[in-house]
Symmetry: C2
Subunit: 374 residues, 2 copies
């Protein structure tokens, strides 16, 4: 067992690591190594809770690694998910939400709410002497996993501070794990808004689904060819299927009219841009903001002769300028009740003319030609 | 300055606090007090970053509090939001993402990227001697705020460990703050999915908006009267406006038909339940799962004679049973093209008969009568 100064150093390091280490995997790995050296343990392993079970996530144990190799250890651990509840040591620790100290693994009193499973030792040839298992508890008291240290020096005479330092460790890791999970869930929730709306928008017209998939792929490829960063390309890819979401509110007799629309009908049809922006008003996420911009501005023209706002040039959001090219290209190359599909070469020619006439952004069309020609 | 053992104790406590303290406010308050005593500082204050500015959040400074009173301190701090960037000490700390040690506030070298603003001391009569300002940095390197300690004992001879312990503090608080923010954003994002879809569903029919508002209020009140917990009542309140979202896909000539529907038209109309469930398939959040259950099952009957699945009794999700009562009650008491609104007493009578005939859950209707009669 190390002294207070060392323990302080280690806790400080973990604290700083929490705020400096981008990758959750590296963070967990470093934490295990620090915990091992700090509490004088031969090995450490970490399990995350999911649907009532503990699943192995990561380990640090050179002795065991010498015996089985890193892959062997991982396989041995992975094969043993553990039920959260009385029974096993780690399962009980997660269940009770309290640290469990086992000073002699092979002599656990019969009335303990857990017993030591010897099968791991038997199959690996490892000799477990003692174990300290700490719950990883979040601020709301939720146990997100456990941290298990094995074969600690002087576990019999562990100080109260050492025990609590161990729990502080568990808490720090829990918060980091929870943050990683929340970040992931937040992204999913933001994408869910878009996916559900797109699903709703597709319902009226079975052809729409294919059009949306193709045009979001074209939009992604064009955005990429324009040299946008990966994150922005992804935003455009996911936001573009919502460009026509406002059509939900257009009456069927206009939306589904087999013949050409008259002037009044066109006027109604054009409102799908502002209605789409209205459905997406006050966006809370970057993704929803992109979707709103695209819905509102994908019929604007670079020369200011588009709709609904007749804005021009750089006043039109870049994403909307990308989507307008993708949208028209897919319309040209698709079969419609009133027209045959144009061959790609002809459609490219029309897009190119569109750029010359002030419909599209010439830079974006240049990027489009670079990939469409290939 | 305290010794290593004390510092360890404090960091351990903060670590454990991170995982035990439910309220972020109490957490921050405790952290400031601990930081103050640990680093021998007269005062501590915490600022959170938002849109390029630092905003005061919380303080702990008995000397200043004696002078101005707690409200006076809060007002004095709140009146001074600080720009993130070179200029002020806290603004520079957040900007640079590095700790700033000022050993003599009134003698800062002229070439420093910050200066000390004396106006606070002047107006409050407080005497700032020195300052240690630490960025609160998350795992992704984002500065979410700064922690500022004022009038520290022996700041001139602060050890390297003490400095790093201070940064570990900042990191721990940053992670906790980030966690609280993420939780809040996740909730918002999950509600956004619902709000957007409801906005889209309302567009076809201007009357729908009022109906949705009323029936979600009725649903909430009935759920509450049934004795459900606050969280579930809130889920039902927010999910219920999506009960008819599937109507987005019903053709206008059926959806908006002024007269009664024939059998074939009814068959189409009834599909709004399964279409709604389809729009909400594979829900990622509890809220979306409630919305899907309600959309699918709000026309089922307790006797199994409803649609689309003809399930009965407890097989119908409780939330859907609640919403079916609220939905029918609002329909009865509203004006429709083909009918005058029923008076509330008559509508209540019809609902009560509906329970007797096996349309509604008698327990839910009992709860409804309890509040509807009052």
């Amino acid at each position: 067992m190390t002294n207070d100064a060392d323990m302080l150093e280690a806790l400080v390091n973990t604290g700083i690591l929490l705020s400096s280490e981008h990758s959750i995997d590296v963070l967990l790995e470093q934490t295990l190594k620090t915990a091992r050296s700090l509490f004088g343990a031969e090995g450490a392993s970490l399990y995350l809770a999911d649907s009532g079970m503990l699943h192995f996530r990561i380990f640090s144990n050179p002795v065991l690694e010498d015996k089985l190799g890193p892959e062997g250890v991982r396989k041995a651990y992975k094969a043993r998910p553990v039920k959260i509840g009385p029974g096993s040591i780690s399962g009980y620790t997660a269940y009770a939400g309290e640290s469990t100290i086992v000073t002699d693994a092979y002599n656990i009193p019969g009335d303990a709410p857990y017993s030591f499973n010897t099968s791991f030792d038997k199959s690996s040839g490892y000799k477990t002497v003692n174990l300290a298992t700490v719950p990883m508890k979040t601020r709301k008291g939720k146990v997100v996993g456990v941290l298990q240290l094995v074969n600690l020096q002087g576990l019999d005479s562990f100080s109260d501070t050492a025990m609590r330092a161990m729990e502080a460790f568990g808490a720090q890791v829990a918060v980091a794990v929870e943050n990683a999970t929340l970040t992931e869930e937040l992204k999913k929730a933001q994408y869910e808004t878009i996916t559900r709306l797109a699903a709703a928008a597709e319902l009226k017209d079975p052809d729409t689904g294919d059009h949306l998939r193709r045009m979001s792929e074209y939009s992604r490829d064009i955005a990429d060819a324009c040299g946008l960063d990966e994150h922005t390309v992804e935003l455009i890819y996911y936001a573009s299927p919502l460009h026509d979401v406002g059509k939900i509110a257009i009456p069927d007799d206009i939306l589904l009219k087999p013949g050409p629309l008259d002037d009044d009908e066109w006027e109604v049809m054009r409102t799908h841009t502002v209605i789409g922006a209205d459905i997406l008003r006050n966006p809370h996420s970057e993704l929803a903001a992109y979707a709103r911009d695209i819905a509102l501005c994908h019929h604007e023209r670079i020369d200011g002769k588009g709709y609904p706002s007749e804005i021009k040039g750089d006043d039109i959001p870049f994403a909307a300028r990308v989507v307008s090219v993708a949208d028209v290209f897919d319309a040209l190359t698709s079969r419609r009740p009133y027209k045959e599909p144009f061959p790609a070469a002809k459609a490219i020619e029309i897009i190119n003319e569109g750029a010359a006439k002030g419909q599209f952004d010439p830079e974006i069309v240049k990027a489009f030609l670079g990939i469409a020609g290939s």
